[in-house]
């Protein structure tokens, strides 16, 4: 099964993106906690694209493609905003006290926790592609 969502990169569209991912995920036979994780990871990624990729510019496009097979579900998010380097985003120190706990880096931390594989391809012409892979049978709970 393959499903696609095309929309403007606006915060107002986040709910529609989440509904699109959760619906496709359920139709592909995953349970609700698996689908919650996948939609959360896509929401965090799209929020970053909207705020940082397109931040300060006119809203561009955001395309979300959902694909699945017997082993895994794959969501590819394509945008034409500023590229970035996911590998350079440091994980927050979760052992720090509330006083020292940083507010940043949580979005990427959640993406890393909620999917099994992350690939990022920066391309100014074809668009930047972020590929999120969650394997079937991947634990939905801690």
């Amino acid at each position: 099964m393959k499903a696609e969502f095309h929309g403007e990169a606006r915060l107002e569209n986040l709910e529609s993106v989440r509904e699109f991912v959760a619906s496709a995920c359920h139709r592909a036979g995953a349970d609700s906690s698996f689908c919650f994780d996948l939609k959360s990871a896509v929401d965090e990624a799209c929020t970053n694209i909207i705020l940082h990729g397109y931040g300060g510019r006119e809203a561009g496009s955001i395309d979300v493609c959902f694909e699945e097979d017997a082993e895994r579900m794959v969501v590819t998010i394509t945008d034409r905003g500023r590229p970035f380097s996911p590998g350079e985003i440091r994980a927050p120190d979760l052992s720090s006290s509330w006083r020292e706990r940083p507010a940043g880096g949580l979005g990427w931390h959640l993406i890393r926790k909620m999917v099994d594989e992350i690939e990022y391809l920066a391309d100014g012409e074809k668009g930047n592609r972020l590929i999120l892979v969650k394997r079937r049978g991947s634990p939905g709970r801690l």
Binding site: S33, F36, L94, S97, A103, G107
Partner: protein, 112 residues
């Protein structure tokens, strides 16, 4: 997302219904700030109606925890639903925030 603020004893209850994401978290931050700046630093977040939260919602919680505790109060959460609890756990927030099964217990925790 809808926000309703009520008072019980000396505690302010901020009840949220809906999803807290990059679009709606700003309104939540604003609501919390109004309470803190008005001197209401003992806050219970009624999370029974929150079906989703992203990191934007977590940042709103973290900011409010810091602001209330620095003024001698606290932000405590009641009735967090399983999916949202998982986000709090993955983000390491269950070690920071005090969570309670319901509003009564959360409000009562400020008496002791």
């Amino acid at each position: 997302m809808e926000i309703e603020v009520t008072q019980r004893e000396q505690v302010t209850i901020v009840a949220i219904v809906g999803s807290v994401d990059g679009l709606t978290a700003g309104a939540l931050v604003q609501s919390f700030r109004e309470q803190v700046h008005g001197g209401n630093v003992r806050i219970v977040g009624d999370w029974s109606g929150v079906e989703y939260t992203s990191s934007a919602g977590l940042r709103a919680l973290l900011e409010t925890v810091k602001e209330t505790r620095q003024r001698g109060g606290d932000l405590r959460l009641a009735a967090v639903q399983p999916d949202v609890l998982r986000v709090l756990e993955l983000a390491g927030f269950t070690g920071i925030l005090k969570l309670f099964p319901d509003i009564e217990t959360a409000v009562g925790s400020f008496r002791s």
